[in-house]
Structures are given as C-alpha cells and as structure tokens.
C-alpha cells in the first residue's frame, strides 16, 4: 500500500518559478501519467518525487512519510530515464545488477532476479553485451530492466519512449501496457505524447505552465474536459475552436459565429443564462462532424470548403476554412475527397463544447 501525496509543492530556479502550489495524490497501484507540452513542469515534478531535484516549498509524502529531504535511495523508487542512461562500461547484466550490488545482495539472489526480469523483457541473450552493442529498443528494455530488478515500490518513467522511432514506439507502448498488467506497482509516467498518456494511464494529470489543468481517467479527460487547454490537448487531431456569440435571451439557444449558426441542447439553457448575448468560445472535435449528403437539409449544418485533404484510407483528414477559422474535419469514409470540393457537415448539439473566452473554463 503505497500512496504518494504532493502537498503545495513548489519549485523555483532562482527567481523563476517553475511549479507553484501543486497538490496531487497518487493512489496505490495506480499508473499515473503526467502529460503536457514541453516546459510545463512535468519532468521537474517527476524529478522532485525521485529526489533528484530539491523541493523549494511544500512537502512530498510517500506512505504518509515526508520524504522531500531524503536521498533518492531512501525513497524506494526506481527510475527509467529518457536517454536510457546505461552505464557504458558495464554489460547488460552488470547494468541491471548495479543497484543490487551496491545494496550488498547476495550473488544467488542477484542472479535469480536478473534472470527473472531478463526473461520477462526478452533480453536474456543480451546479458553479456555492452550498451553500445544494442539497438535503441534493446537499450530501452535494458533501462527498464535495470529499474525492474530493484523491485522498488514506485517506478518513475521520464519520457522513456521519446527517443524511439515511430514504429518501435508503438511496439514498446504495447509492451509497456502488457508489463503494466503483470506488475502491480505504483507507476508515474511523464510524456508529452497524449496518445501514450491515453493508452497507458489509469489516471492522467494534464499540466501546463507549472499548474495542473485537470486530473482524471482518459475517458473523463476526453469526454468532459475542464477547460480549453485540456480539450485542445487531449484527442488527435485536436479540437477545433471558434469565436462565437451566444444568442441573446429572446432568440433560441444557439451560437452564432463567422459563417455558421449552431443550435445547442436545450438543457444547457440554465447554466448559460449569464452568458446570453456575450462572446463565447466553442469547441468541436474533428470526429464530431457528420457528412450530410448534398441537397439534403439538416439541422446544425455547415458548408465547409476543402482546402487540404489527407486521405488515410479508412478516413480522410480534411482541412477547411469556416469563416476565417481553420478547421480540421475527420471524415470517416474510405472515398477520397478532392481539394476544391466542399462538404456539408452537421454537428450534434451535444457534441459542442462551450468555453468562457476569459477564463477558458468549460461552461
């Protein structure tokens, strides 16, 4: 039972404040993903949990015990680094056993653990090799092996897949997910890739500019984003945003923008009362557009001229311009769409997200 709690944690480098008042609880056996654009403080947060970075303010608790003054080795934490950080002068087996040798485990136990982990990761035949004789994927596996043999209570991953090529990354991601099922441990994983976050995380913490924007399960983040940042960050291709105005009280509940007018679900009337007649930001996911056959009239329909068309096969990603806003539309049809054509699309009222333009919070 290991619970990690961050309480009002702050990090400053000289006068520059990187993280301010971070509160976070990571429950036992949870795979937590910290995700956000580069420079959002996710890696710094991880390094503070690891003990590689001092905490400027606040406290980190592991199992109720304050640890912010403890050395990394006293925290029972293992870490996988972005650049692998394998010891170049040691072979794979010695790389993996380094921590155990430092802790004076006996030889038989070290050998047993290395074999077990090597089998699990499929790197048994690599044990005698030096890091320079390994491919990128193999190095990555060894780096994970080095963390796993320690059998620590918590594993930290600092963008472990970002140095791999696209194909290998997908493969390693699947392997990580598989490994996750076998090892029930606390895992904290930092990435800037929202797909990695969505596929691996039990819970995702979206960060931006040193603050937590939202924490929740992948489904919560996708379906009920708390603000414009999360809505735009989660989901690929990312959500389209339009500046619009909410129709005033005497009209029907609708948003009117440059080149479109869309009706909203009636049950939203209550919470939107204060915003009637005022500017509003609306968000629509690329997949929320449905193609309507020409000539057929439909509610909430928009005509979208095709500017760029990326035909993927099972679907097409179409760039269009509605009013003066660039829009991405994911069309789930295997028929290619030519540039210069225009498509008529409709949006279900429930699929429209509304944001306060000032606070960027969802309405």
């Amino acid at each position: 039972m290991v619970e990690i709690v961050l309480e009002n944690v702050a990090k400053r480098f000289g006068p520059i404040s990187v993280i301010e008042g971070l509160n976070l609880t990571m429950r036992d056996n949870e795979f937590t993903v910290l995700v956000g654009p580069s420079g959002c403080g996710k890696s710094t947060t991880l390094r503070m949990i690891a003990g590689l970075e001092d905490v400027s303010d606040g406290e980190i608790y592991i199992n109720g015990k304050p640890v912010s003054h403890l050395e990394p080795k006293e925290r029972d934490i293992a870490m996988v680094f972005q650049d692998y950080a394998l010891y170049p002068h040691m072979n794979v087996a010695r790389n993996m056993s380094f921590a155990l040798r430092l802790a004076h485990y006996d030889r038989a136990e070290i050998a047993r653990r290395i074999e077990q982990v090597a089998d699990m990761l499929g790197i048994r035949e690599l044990l005698g090799r030096k890091p320079r004789e390994l491919s990128g994927g193999q190095r990555q596996r060894v780096a994970m092996g080095r963390a796993l043999v320690r059998d620590a209570s918590t594993f930290l991953f600092d963008e472990p897949l970002s140095n791999l090529d696209a194909k290998l990354r997908t493969q390693m991601r699947a392997e990580l997910a598989l490994m996750r099922q076998r090892i029930r441990k606390n895992m904290i994983y930092v990435t800037h890739d929202q797909i990695e976050a969505m596929t691996l995380g039990d819970r995702i913490i979206v960060m931006s500019k040193g603050k937590i924007m939202q924490a929740g399960t992948p489904e919560e983040l996708f379906k009920r984003p708390a603000n414009k940042f999360v809505a735009g960050f989660i989901g690929s291709p990312s959500m389209n945003f339009f500046d619009a105005e909410l129709a005033s009280n005497d009209g029907p509940l609708a948003v009117v923008g440059d080149g479109f007018s869309l009706g909203l679900p009636l049950d939203a009337a209550g919470r939107l009362k204060a915003h009637r007649g005022r500017p509003i930001t609306i968000g629509i996911r690329p997949t929320a557009f449905q193609v309507v056959a020409d000539g057929q009239s439909a509610e909430n329909a928009i005509r979208a001229p095709v500017v760029v068309s990326e035909y993927i096969g099972s679907n097409s990603i179409v760039m269009s311009e509605i009013g003066h806003t660039q829009v991405t539309i994911d069309i789930g049809s295997d028929a290619p769409i030519a540039v210069g054509e225009s498509v008529q699309v409709r949006v279900a009222p429930e699929a429209i997200y509304l944001f306060d333009p000032a606070t960027e919070r969802v309405l």
Binding site: P72, K73, Y84, H89, F98, L102, P131, G136, N163
Partner: protein
C-alpha cells in the same frame, strides 16, 4: 577531367613530401642517437660521416657497468610512477569538483590552473631549491622531486580531465544516484571508468614529463637520489665528453616511456560513452 586528376596527383605528391619531411624531423635525432650509441669513439669523432659501420655494443657495456645504474633507474621509476599516480588521483577529483560543483571562485580556479602551466620549469629552479632546502628540508630527497613534478603536472591534468568529465552525461550520474550510489561510489564506479581514455592520456603525458625532466632533478638531487636524465650529465667531465655512452643512456631512457605509452594508449578507446545515452 584529366587536369583534375593531375592536380590531385600533384597534391598527393606534396602531401607525402610533407609527411616525409616531418617524419625526418621527428626521427632524425632518434636515428642519430641510436647510430652514435653503436659507434666507437674514433668513428664518432671522425670527420667523415659513417652511414655504414660495424655496430659495437661497447658503449652499452660501459653504461651497464656503471655501478649506480640500477639505483638511478629505480629512482627514475619511482619518481615517474608515484608522481603520475598522485597527479591522476588528485587531478581527477579536482577536475570533477570544478566541473560538477558550483562554488565561489570556480571559474577563476579553472582558468588559473592553465595559467600555472605556462610558467616554464626553469623559472622555478631557484625558488623551489630555496624553499625545498631551507623551509621543507626536502632537498636531495625523492619526495622533493616527486612533489615538484606533481605541482608541475597537476594543472594540465586538471585541465584535460575537465573536458572529459564535461562529456559524461548528467543522467548517468543521476541514474547511479537513483540506484543508491553515494557521491563517492558515483565518482569511482561510474564517472572514472567512463573517462578512462582521458586518464590514460593524462597518465602518458604526466609520466613522460616526470621521466624526462632534467633541470629540476639536477638541482634537487644528490648522488643517491639522481634520476636517469641527471645521470646522462655525468658523462660530461672536465676531461672528456663520452658521446657514445651519453647516446646509449639516451636510448635506454627512451624505452620505458615507450612501453608505458603503449600500455596506456590501449585504454584510449574512442567512443567509450557510446550507448550510454542517445545522441
């Protein structure tokens, strides 16, 4: 096309001419030393140059019959090896501190190490002799010579090792920290093995200087603590200059640094950090 070919041929000829000239400059004195050491006095002092001659080992025999040879050789080896070892140990720690730790005056120290290296040893002779003799009571001892060589070599070793340590990725040390290594273990088990090529280069350099140094050794030693280079000067007497034996000792002196360099250069494997971290 043909013209281009001709140009590159000319370039190649020039290139090799330069190489031959340079190797003559390097090898010429060694060749001269070697041939002279194998000649009799009459041949050495003859007006005509002898390119073809019957070699003799009489000079070497005379050198080996010198009763103190073993002692001077031992002195030289001790001075060379001990000063190299101490310089490396102190130098790598100093370099590590200069690279990794932030403290006041760090940059000044870093630059000062190099400035010290620019002082020619001859300038040090008088002050070192005075201090060693009257303050430290170290004159005529091997410790005195060793100490001066350490002081002489340390700045360069610190400077050369700094650049090697800078190339050790920080993540490697952080990984060691996560694995439970304390700072000393991180340094000795992770950093030092990674900078082994730098240590080897520094060792070659230090040993060569300590082995070959003449003027400070001449001033700081007596007939018991002489080193090999000082021994050479004994063949210049008021009656005679024994060129043959001087060259024979010179040839013998050149051998240990050669052996040392071959052993140490085995450690210089480029790209030792390859595979540690990406890019």
């Amino acid at each position: 096309m043909a013209k281009r070919r001709k140009n590159s041929d000319l370039g190649l000829i020039g290139y090799y001419a330069l190489l031959i000239a340079l190797s003559l400059v390097c090898l010429g004195p060694i060749l001269l030393m070697l041939t002279t050491s194998l000649q009799l006095k009459t041949q050495i002092f003859d007006d005509k140059a002898h390119f073809l001659f019957m070699p003799t080992v009489s000079n070497y025999v005379a050198v080996f019959e010198q009763e103190h040879l073993a002692r001077y050789l031992t002195n030289s080896l001790m001075v060379g090896l001990i000063s190299t070892a101490v310089t490396l140990v102190v130098g790598c720690m100093a370099a590590y501190a200069l690279v990794r730790f932030r403290f006041m005056g760090r940059d000044t120290v870093s630059v000062a190490t190099l400035l010290l290296r620019m002082v020619p040893p001859a300038v040090l002779v008088v002050p070192v002799f005075m201090i060693w003799t009257y303050d430290f009571d170290l004159s005529n001892t091997l410790s005195g010579v060793i100490l001066v060589y350490i002081a002489l070599n340390l700045p360069f070793v610190v400077w050369i090792l700094q650049s090697f340590i800078e190339q050790v990725p920080n993540q490697l040390e952080e990984a060691a920290r996560m694995d439970g290594a304390n700072p000393l273990q991180t340094f000795f088990l992770v950093v030092l093995p990674v900078i082994r090529p730098g240590l080897a280069a520094a060792a070659i350099f230090t040993f060569r200087i300590a082995w070959n140094e003449f003027i400070l050794a001449l001033v700081l030693t007596n007939r018991f603590t002489r080193t090999m280079p000082v021994m050479v000067s004994l063949y210049i007497t008021e009656h005679n200059i024994e060129w043959g034996q001087i060259m024979a000792v010179g040839t013998l002196i050149a051998i240990p640094p050669l052996i040392f360099t071959f052993i140490a250069s085995k450690q210089i494997i480029t790209g030792l950090t390859a595979g540690a971290v990406k890019g």
